[in-house]
Symmetry: none
Subunit: 132 residues, 4 copies
């Protein structure tokens, strides 16, 4: 099963509501089960460089079916996945990417958020993910 555009747009809408609540300007990307982008929005005044990061966070979360920040713990110097970011055309391994599960618990996509602190990015991604 795959996330629908309608679901992806709801995810973005909820994420944007949370971003406004915490006064952050975000880039928000939603990918499907195949890690292909379904929907994207850059809020007015959000960092230009965060568009690619939002997409890469979403893809990273779906590539490994875990929050992007979990990969980052393992990709530090001396850790098992050091510099895994070189794969797949570039991963982003800090927080802000979260897988999205469907009704039956299977993963149907992922959200990636970038534009503020990684804590804020994660908070906004969480709010979007919970819309499903």
């Amino acid at each position: 099963m795959n996330i629908t555009l309608k679901q992806a747009q709801t995810v973005i809408e909820k994420a944007m509501a949370k971003a406004l609540e915490i006064d952050a300007k975000m880039n928000i990307s939603v990918v499907d089960a195949g890690a292909n982008q379904v929907a994207f929005a850059r809020m007015d005044g959000a960092w230009l460089g965060s568009a690619d990061i939002a997409l890469k966070k979403a893809r990273t979360a779906r590539f490994f079916d875990m929050p992007s920040g979990e990969i980052g713990k393992l990709s530090q110097p001396g850790e098992p996945l050091f510099n895994i970011e070189h794969s797949n055309g570039g991963l982003i391994s800090f927080p802000g990417g979260i897988p999205i599960s469907g009704a039956n618990g299977a993963i149907i996509g992922a959200i990636g958020v970038s534009g503020s602190s990684v804590e804020n990015d994660h908070t906004v991604a969480q709010a979007g993910m919970e819309a499903i």
Copy 2:
């Protein structure tokens, strides 16, 4: 002046309405005056490979401030711009990309549509562009 997210989302909404009317499944991308993506939507069941094409059509239209298909007329074998598609990380030079102008006539962004015949792609892009 730059297209806002709200304007970009309206462009996508109008484009999708036209796509549904002509029974086509589209990827729709909107870029700003700097050719950076502002909003994107892939309709359910639309071709996966058309996401990148939609973005490249939008960028091509803004790169040269004309519909992407106009570039394609000039890039044929024997024509003045043969193989221009090798520039800018890849152009798409067939119809489906159209610049978007603001209130004062200045270009504020562009829309790119991909997922059906190039005629349909252009029709849907036109409908989106006219929303502004």
Copy 3:
């Protein structure tokens, strides 16, 4: 609002004056508000490899609206943005990139300098930025 070519050339001229003053050979790039290059100069004898670095520093500074070196503090191992350099086709996150603001305080572009120590690169970028 966007930096003009005349402004960009003044930025480069002032940066070069500072580079001569401190006896450094620099590559200097200026991008506009959309992170697209407006003007570039490589001083005679400056490192060839620094041309791309100067451009990427300027783009990094505009992508996140802060000096490139600020990103670098956050991208170290164990820090929140570790390996962010893999995004946007390659960032450069050490000093030498600085945003440029216009009369009303809004960011209109950025300068990136590379060719000497990062301290010198930053000093020269600062001198260029202050021309506006």
Copy 4:
């Protein structure tokens, strides 16, 4: 021998004067004998997509020590160099790129111009080249 920055800036200045004379907005790139960019300028309002094309024309002219348009004659379908544009990270093989020779006749660099018709691009490149 290699083109100097001062020479490259003179080339751009003369090219820009010609561009203003024929009322065209150009992107102008100058590369050295090693095909590395020395100086670049994008005139206000010039096409964004022409920056990369100007650089690629200059590089193409120096890569093969002939005007970029000469390559284009040979890269047509059925001709000996069909699709040579796939090499070197992307060539541009229509007019607008011209080698620049020094006092002793040896090639010291090249100019690439993009932003108007290929005839205008070539005319402006010629004016720049003749500055040396």
